[in-house]
Amino acid sequence: MQLLKQTRQYQSELAGYCRTGILQQIPGIHTGNVVQYRKLVMNVVDDILQNAYPLTYDLLTGAEWDALVAKFFAGHSCKSPQVWYMPKELIGYMVDTDHALLKQYPMLLNLLQFEWLETEMFMMQDIPVPLTRNGDLLFSKLVLNPEHRLMVLEYPVHRKKPSDIRPEDQQAYYLAAHRDEEGQVVFTELSPALLRAVEHLQERAISIQELYQLIEQDFGIQLTETDHLAIIQFIQQAYAEELIKGFAPVT
């Protein structure tokens, strides 16, 4: 026996009320108590979004935040059965609807992406990778931490308090985010050359010597001794902070 259209409608109307606050006539409903559902649902949604985007919450006025949350939940059908993953959908919603706040706060999209990246990386599944800890940073093939993401930003939301960011701060910022053994998410700002180095390491394990050659090819330049030292220094730091996780096992 299928659910009757009427029953389906009542369920839809109650769910709709929780999302929009607009209550239809539903038989038998206790109008004084039904408000609890709207409160409970919106508390959960608001709480989860605040936890995912604390910097955005601080940046916006209370009224802006409340309106954003209310319109998002009313206008967007949340797809994720896992509530911790739901905040990601806010970014898609704001982009898809060309939300006015994105124009009002030019750095807002970057801020949301930056905040979500931290949550997503903190929570993401473990990714095993074959490697050894025995190797030499200068000569062995380097293995990148597979639990990482690269990100390009237009505004320095990783460096500055959002309210201090000015239009003249707009430029390309390259970031690597990775998760260390303790599970903490570490952000590293990269120059264009180091971004290419990490992108090469994404493809396969390679040594520093190979990296020099690849970067020279990418940029059509001859690296100087100073450049080599800068790359070595970056690799040492990346290894210490676990962006580079180890060395390719010798087969």
């Binding site: 009757l4 029953t7 109650l14 206790h30 039904v34 609890q36 929570m123 599970g183």
Partner: protein, 276 residues
Amino acid sequence: MVGIGYRKDFSEEFLNSDIISPSFIEVAPENWLGVGGYWKKQFQKALERYPLFTHGLSLSIGSPDELDFQFLANVKAFLKETGAELYSEHLSYAKCDNAHLYDLLPIPFTEDAVKHVAERIRKVQDFLEQKIAIEIVSYYTPVAPEITEIDFINTILQEADCELLLDVNNVYVNAFNHKYDARQFIEQLDLDRVRYIHMAGHEQVSDSLIIDTHGEAIIVPVYDLLEYTLELLGRDVPVLLERDFNIPEMEALQAEIRKLSNIKETVLKRTAHAVA
């Protein structure tokens, strides 16, 4: 067996001290599915020490929407991977018009909803290749009711041939909010199907309304209702302490676990004597 809902809010203290000694832990698969890093390590530590019961949030068994079999496949893999002893869900809906709501809404008490829900529980049980336990939820308003709550529940249990997760606090809350006798309600349930019991605290927000917050200590009348329930059951059933908000010191949670254990032991001894 008395267990506790394992929550991230107190995970660190829970794992790093021996103040709490539950017989098992319970989690919502949704909160741990596909999670790695720090929380996976913590969860693994907990799994090494305690048997696992699971209690889902998002299956939305009472939804008018289609069942999400991809999600269910993930749950099935999770149950297998963790060796979970039980999977339970709520007799409610949390998704409608293809949108998750992240809370539990009451299903209309109607004949067609009974058929609809029972069929979905059967499908879920077939898919998971195991019986599931369905929890009676607390609710603050009926929705277009045509039959009684007790008939709604018992018929679903029978037609779905599933188990019952009896949340004693929910029955207390519902009895208060909808002005019926909690003991009589429990007497009328199909008690042979009770597989698992939940206990929790609540908050009375007005003269006529209690909200099932899981944010307060269990009150004496709910302990009394548990004792009554266990006497009716006359057998050992795992009991879970749920505490989701306003988390107290570990000692306070252990005191509640101890109290629940004492009630169980007392009733079981009493019923054993009665049988003998």
